[in-house]
């Protein structure tokens, strides 16, 4: 209960820093899949028409493409982390996200229809969870907030669902 009270203080909070390493790992996995896929394509292309120039060209393209991807995968999560935050008070939950295209979504507590807290296998190893808030709206019918410490996600969920008599007009 103490934890809950301290969460709803209207102060803007960052996501859990462990989310950076989680996102990097997810990125590595995707990058590895893409790298092996593109390697296969390059190999088949070379076998179809073997020549030294072609080999050099596709090897260079493969290296540069995947190098850039790896660099991005490593560099992007901390940038995104800096631009993502959430804020809770007794009335609304506010989520800031986006680096270039920024978006602030404000969901009143009294509009929360139901909530999910989910945890994938990677999230479990990092002690993280994803909070999903559902409203009856259309564009933002489902508002996700990933990268929370699992306990924090549970606490926010509790806070969102505990409704006092004040908001029952």
């Amino acid at each position: 209960v103490n934890n809950e009270a301290s969460l709803a203080d209207g102060v803007s909070r960052r996501l859990d820093p462990r989310y950076i390493s989680l996102q990097r790992k997810t990125g590595w996995i995707i990058a590895a899949v893409l790298a092996s896929g593109s390697w296969m394509i390059a190999l088949v292309g070379w076998l179809a028409e073997p020549s030294r120039g072609r080999l050099a060209l596709s090897a260079a393209a493969w290296l540069i493409g995947n190098g850039l991807l790896m660099w991005h995968v490593h560099r992007w999560p901390p940038i995104e982390h800096r631009h993502t935050s959430y804020r809770l008070d007794d009335r609304v939950i506010e989520i800031h996200r986006g680096v270039y295209w920024r978006r602030v979504i404000n969901v009143p507590r009294s509009r929360v229809q139901h909530t999910d807290v989910s945890q994938g296998p990677l999230e479990r190893t990092h002690g993280l969870g994803t909070l999903v808030v559902y409203t009856a709206g259309t564009d933002h019918a489902k508002v996700e907030l990933p990268g929370l410490a699992y306990e924090t996600a549970l606490a926010i969920r509790e806070h969102l669902l505990t409704r006092g008599t004040s908001d029952a007009v």
Partner: protein
């Protein structure tokens, strides 16, 4: 209770749910294999098959895919748990990707039991928990014993009554098995107001459109191209048009070769002869008139005998020649109202009014009005608008709204994308038309500047304690008003261009809005103003309790 409840008060599904889940996969995967087994027909693979390279009896091998499906069914069953917490339903699911869903009882709109013949034989049921909003049920519980469903229904509605929700909760009699096929038992909607609560009230006609109005509406609305496009598509499909284009472009056809002649003349950059130009102009005018005529026909068929009635606290619209629609719109379910007028509408002092309603449980019996946009008045005299608005949204005084214009800097923002498009088109045209593109480019650029200027001039928003209103459009103008009490969430969006100009847009999300509808989405607001507007709206919405 037949289902086992463990120490934590958690309840599992009925074990036969493994069978039902597996049967679901069976339908997807194993049908070809079963067909092979039953009919004894030839395999698609093997030396005799249609796909000779595939191994023989490939259909049987495909059944190997069923093993993971079976495993998934077992794990789903093992992972699924249901718990009745103090005032919410807690559903735990997933083995690898775990999910815990909390659904407050007060949010549950419907609790549906869906049974097919196998469910009935085994005394179990699929349960769909709907809280509204989304198109799909919020939780599908497959399958629970019947007794557990009754238990769930009892608990959910007991809590709701004790939570002080008004209205008696009717528990419907058990299933109407006479329905045959799939039986659905539906509990009443959460607001507790029975749909027929106002049935006894007298009906008052607010608007009736006669044939003349409908023809006028069709003429003004100009849906002709849409209708023609649809008909054209159908005719194309059935190969009706093969001779048509041949007739237009064929070398041998003389009279109808006009299109070809004009195109070749233009292609060779020669001037049209007077006769050609005359035929071309009259052809274009004829086509435009034809399109309008089709639109009038569409309006008559679609909206024949349009009548808007007020019955107690509900509105009802009845219309249609072939498809008769009778839509009930409970006043309290109206989320937004949109008033639209085109250039010809303004000339004749007419407007067109639509509302958006939220579905929610009870409304789904009214098919058409279940969710989404509804005509309130396809065609209405502008003078009669305040009276209608007063009837529908008494808290809205259109004339009294304090419209805030867009900032002066908005024009520079709005003109840039339009100019870019105009320049792009002009460059493209220059490749084809050479120097003829110069006047075209001048027109395009002038038009884009004018359009941007007029667009910004007609932007506006207004805020009262009860509603938020937004207007936009130059030739076709729309005003949309959303009730603050119906706001679901408020978003502030900044593109990189917005940030450079220290601007933002504010989007108000409501239930029942569709892709095509005019929304309350205010662009080009100064950043600080946008942020404070967002906070104000969210706080105002938070202070009200959302009721369907």
């Amino acid at each position: 209770m037949p289902s086992d409840i463990d120490d934590a008060g958690e309840q599992r599904l009925h074990p036969v749910s493994i069978l039902f889940s597996f049967a679901g996969s069976l339908k997807k995967f194993a049908l070809p294999g079963l067909l092979l087994l039953i009919t004894g027909g030839g395999s698609m693979g093997g030396p005799d098959g249609r796909f000779g390279r595939l191994p023989p009896n490939i259909e049987l091998w495909l059944m190997v895919l069923l093993i993971p499906a079976a495993l998934i069914a077992v794990f789903q069953y093992l992972a699924f748990r249901l718990r009745y917490a103090g005032d919410e339903l807690v559903i735990r699911s997933g083995f690898i990707f775990r999910n815990v869903r909390h659904v407050p009882y007060t949010r549950i709109q419907n609790l549906d039991a869906v049974q097919n013949i196998f469910h009935r034989l085994l005394g179990v049921t699929d349960v769909r928990v709907e809280t509204g909003g989304g198109k799909e049920p919020e939780a599908t519980i497959s399958v629970l014993p019947m007794a557990a469903f009754h238990e769930m229904r009892r608990r959910v509605f007991e809590r709701r009554v004790s939570a002080g929700l008004e209205g008696a909760v009717r528990l419907e009699p058990p299933f109407d098995f006479a329905q045959g096929g799939v039986g659905v038992s539906r509990t009443p909607d959460a607001t507790g107001v029975a749909p027929n609560a106002t049935a006894g009230a007298p009906a008052r006609t607010l608007l009736h459109l006669d044939l003349r109005d409908l023809l006028l509406f069709g003429f003004l609305e100009n849906r002709g191209l849409v209708v023609i496009g649809a008909v054209y598509g159908v005719l194309w499909e059935i190969g009706f048009l093969d001779g048509f284009w041949g007739g237009l472009f064929d070398e041998e056809s003389y009279g109808r070769g006009i299109v070809r002649d004009v195109l070749t003349t233009l292609g060779n950059r020669r001037l049209l002869s007077l006769a050609q130009a005359g035929v071309l102009v009259s052809g274009v005018i004829g086509l435009l008139l034809f399109v309008r005529a089709v639109s009038m026909g569409w309006a008559v068929v679609r909206l024949f005998g349009f009548r808007l009635l007020r019955i107690g606290e509900d509105l009802r619209t009845d219309y249609g020649l072939l498809t008769k629609v009778s839509a009930t719109i409970p006043l309290r379910r109206i989320q937004t109202i949109t008033i639209r007028e085109g250039p010809l509408f303004r000339l004749l002092k007419r407007v067109s009014v639509r509302v958006e309603t939220a579905g929610g449980g009870g409304a789904s019996q009214n098919s058409a009005a279940a969710s989404g946009r509804e005509w309130l008045a396809p065609l209405l005299r502008t003078a009669a608008l305040p009276a209608l608005v007063n009837e529908v949204l008494p808290e809205l005084h259109l004339a009294g709204l304090q419209w805030q214009p867009a900032t002066a800097r908005a024009f520079r923002r709005a003109v840039k994308p339009r100019l870019a498009a105009a320049v792009g088109l002009s460059i493209g045209a220059a490749f084809v038309l050479r120097w003829w593109a110069a006047p075209l480019a001048t027109c395009l650029i002038a038009w884009s500047v004018l359009a941007a200027w007029q667009y910004v001039r007609h932007l506006g928003w207004a805020e009262t304690t009860e509603v938020i209103a937004f207007r936009s459009g130059w030739l076709w103008r729309s005003v949309t008003v959303a009730r603050v009490a119906k706001i679901q969430s408020v978003a502030l969006i900044e593109t990189p261009f917005d940030r450079r100009a220290a601007m933002a847009r504010v989007r108000v999300d409501t239930a029942g809005a569709s892709e095509r509808s005019h929304r309350v989405e205010i662009p080009y607001l100064p950043r600080d103003l946008a942020a404070s507007l967002q906070l104000r709206l969210a706080a105002a919405a938070a202070a009200t309790e959302f009721r369907w």
